[in-house]
Symmetry: C2
Subunit: 315 residues, 2 copies
C-alpha cells in the first residue's frame, strides 16, 4: 500500500475536487493532500472542514504534488492544465540542468526516470464535463503524456466545499478521453486512483464523449433550467403555487439548482452538440403539443408508450 | 377509535387506491376494506398482496361500503363517481320506501339520518389529478353533497397493485376542490381520513387546482416524456449512450416511466392549461437556445441565475 501514498494536489476545492481529496486520503491512495482555492471564503471552509491536509498556492501545490487534479470550471481548466504542463516542462529542464529534483512529493519521484521520456513522473488530470476542447488544446504540448483527461460522472446539484462528501464517486462511471495520448504509466496510475474511488472506467474519444454527455447530461440541465423559469414566471402571480409541488416536480427541476459558473462554460464549449440535442428536444415538445392541441389521444398514447421504453434502459 | 371503523371500498386497486386501502386499514380508520379491480391479473395480485380484505364487484362494493374511493384514471372517474352517486339516490329511495337500509357497512349508517338531508351517510370521493371536469359533471347531481373531490398529491412513476406501498401519502399535500359543495359532515369525515394518512389539506377551486397542477405536475411529465423521446432517438445509433447516464439524467427523466392510461386523460382534460404552460416552456427553451447559439455567455448566466431561484422555493 505504501506505493500508493502519493501527494495529491487538488486545484479547486468544490464538490468534485473536495470529495476526491477526502476519499483519496481516507482510502490511503494519498499520503498527503494539498489544495488550492482562489475564493477566500471557500478556502477557509475547506480548511475548517478538513478537505485537504494543507491549503496552499498554485505554484507550491504543483511543485510538491505527484498528482495534480484540476477541478475548476471547464473554461478555466483548459488554461490551467496547460499551465501545469508548462511547469512540468520547467521542472524537467531544471532536473536535467542540475541533476537534482526540486522539492516535490517523495514517492512518485523515481530518479531512474529523471532523464527518461518522462522527466519527473508528475501527472496532471482534469475532471471536466466537456473533453474535446481541453484535449485539442493540449494535444501538441511536449508534456502531453503526463496529462490524463477524465470525467468522473458523479455530482449533485450543489457546489462548493460545503457540498463535498465521502463516497460521491462510488459505483459511477469515469470516462477516460483520448487515453492513448497519455503515457501508459501515467494512465495506469490514474486508473488505479479511480479504482480506489470505486469508479468503473469507460474509454472514448473526446469528441464522442461530448456528443454523449450532451444527450445524457447537458440537455437534462437545460430542460430543468427552462422548467424552473416557466414555473417561476407563473409564481409572480400565484404565490402559493409551490404548495402543490410534488416529488415528481422536485425531481424534474432539481438540476435547475446547478451552478452558473460550472454550466455557462459547459454549454458554451459543447455548443454544437447541445444545440443539436435542443433542436430534437424542441421538435418532440412540438409533436406533443400538436397531439394535445388536436385532442388526439391515440397519438398522445403512442408518444407516452414510446417514452416509456426508457424503463428498460435506466438502471 | 371505534367510530373510525368505517368500511372503505376502493375502486381501482392501483398505486393510489391500493396504498390508501393499506394505510387506512393498518391505521385503524377502516375496519374493513373492499376492493374492485376490473383487470383480472391486477385483481389477483391485489388479493395475493392483501391490499384489501376482499375483492368484489362494483355494485356490491358500493352497497357495503361507508366510504367509496374512486381511484381509476380521470377519464373513467367522471362516469364512475356519477354512477356511485346515482346508486346513493337509489339507496335513499329504498330507505324511504322500506324504512330499512340495504346491507351496508354498519358504523357509518346512522338511522337518524335515514330520512334526513343525507339519506344514508355514504360518501364517495375521487382522487383525480384534474378537478374541473369532475366537479362540473357532478355539480347538479341531487346527491352532490355526498361527494368529496380530492387530489392527494403523492405517487411514484410506477403503477398497478404492485406499486402500492404503506406511507405513500405521509407528509404530502391533499387538495380539496370545491369543498363547499360537499356536506360539512361528509367533508369532515374525509378530512379525518386524510389526516390519518398524514396529509396536509389545501382548499381551492377546481379550476384553480387545474392551473396550478399544470405548472407543478403536468408540465414536468411532458418535459420528461420529451426528454426520453429525444434520447431514445439518439440511442438508435449509439448503443452505449446510457452507460453515461448519471444521477441527474435519471432524476430528470424519471417521470417518463409514467403510465399512459393515467396520463392521456389528464393531458386531454387539462388541455387548455397544459398547452398554455407548454407554450411558455417552449419559449424559455428558445431563449436558452438563442443565447447558446449566440455564444452569449452573459445571457446564459442570467437565465441560469434566474432559474437558480428555484432553490429558495423547493423544500
Amino acid at each position: 500500500m505504501s506505493e500508493l501514498h502519493f501527494t495529491v494536489g487538488v486545484i479547486g476545492l468544490g464538490l468534485i475536487g473536495g470529495s476526491m481529496a477526502l476519499d483519496l486520503k481516507r482510502r490511503g491512495f494519498a499520503g498527503k493532500t494539498l489544495g488550492v482555492e482562489k475564493d477566500q471564503v471557500a478556502a477557509e471552509a475547506a480548511r475548517t472542514i478538513g478537505l485537504v491536509d494543507e491549503v496552499t498556492d498554485f505554484e507550491d501545490c504543483v511543485r510538491r504534488s505527484d498528482i495534480i487534479v484540476v477541478a475548476v470550471p471547464v473554461g478555466t481548466a483548459v488554461t490551467m492544465v496547460t499551465k501545469v504542463l508548462d511547469m512540468f516542462g520547467d521542472f524537467s529542464t531544471s532536473l536535467e540542468m542540475t541533476g537534482k529534483a526540486p522539492e516535490m512529493g517523495s514517492l512518485s519521484f523515481r530518479p531512474s526516470e529523471a532523464r527518461g521520456e518522462i522527466s519527473n513522473g508528475k501527472i496532471v488530470i482534469d475532471v471536466c464535463s466537456t473533453k474535446e476542447q481541453i484535449c485539442n488544446a493540449t494535444k501538441y504540448h511536449p508534456m502531453r503524456k503526463q496529462f490524463v483527461s477524465t470525467h468522473p460522472m458523479a455530482g449533485t446539484e450543489y457546489s462548493g466545499p460545503w457540498a463535498a462528501q465521502p463516497g460521491l464517486f462510488d459505483g459511477r462511471a469515469c470516462i477516460f478521453a483520448n487515453a492513448e495520448e497519455s503515457s501508459p504509466k501515467a494512465l495506469k496510475t490514474i486508473e488505479k486512483m479511480y479504482d480506489v474511488l470505486n469508479m468503473r472506467p469507460i474509454y472514448m474519444e473526446a469528441a464522442q464523449h461530448d456528443v454523449h454527455t450532451a444527450y445524457v447530461s447537458h440537455i437534462s440541465h437545460v430542460t430543468s433550467f427552462a422548467l424552473a423559469l416557466t414555473v417561476l414566471d407563473k409564481e409572480k402571480d400565484e404565490k402559493h403555487i409551490f404548495d402543490l409541488a410534488s416529488g415528481g416536480f422536485s425531481s424534474t427541476v432539481r438540476l435547475a439548482k446547478s451552478n452558473a459558473d460550472m454550466w455557462v462554460p459547459i454549454l458554451s464549449q459543447n455548443h454544437d452538440n447541445v444545440l443539436h440535442v435542443m433542436d430534437t428536444y424542441i421538435e418532440k415538445m412540438q409533436e406533443f403539443r400538436a397531439a394535445i392541441a388536436d385532442y388526439d389521444e391515440d397519438r398522445i398514447r403512442e408518444l407516452i408508450a414510446e417514452a416509456n421504453r426508457i424503463k428498460k434502459i435506466l438502471r
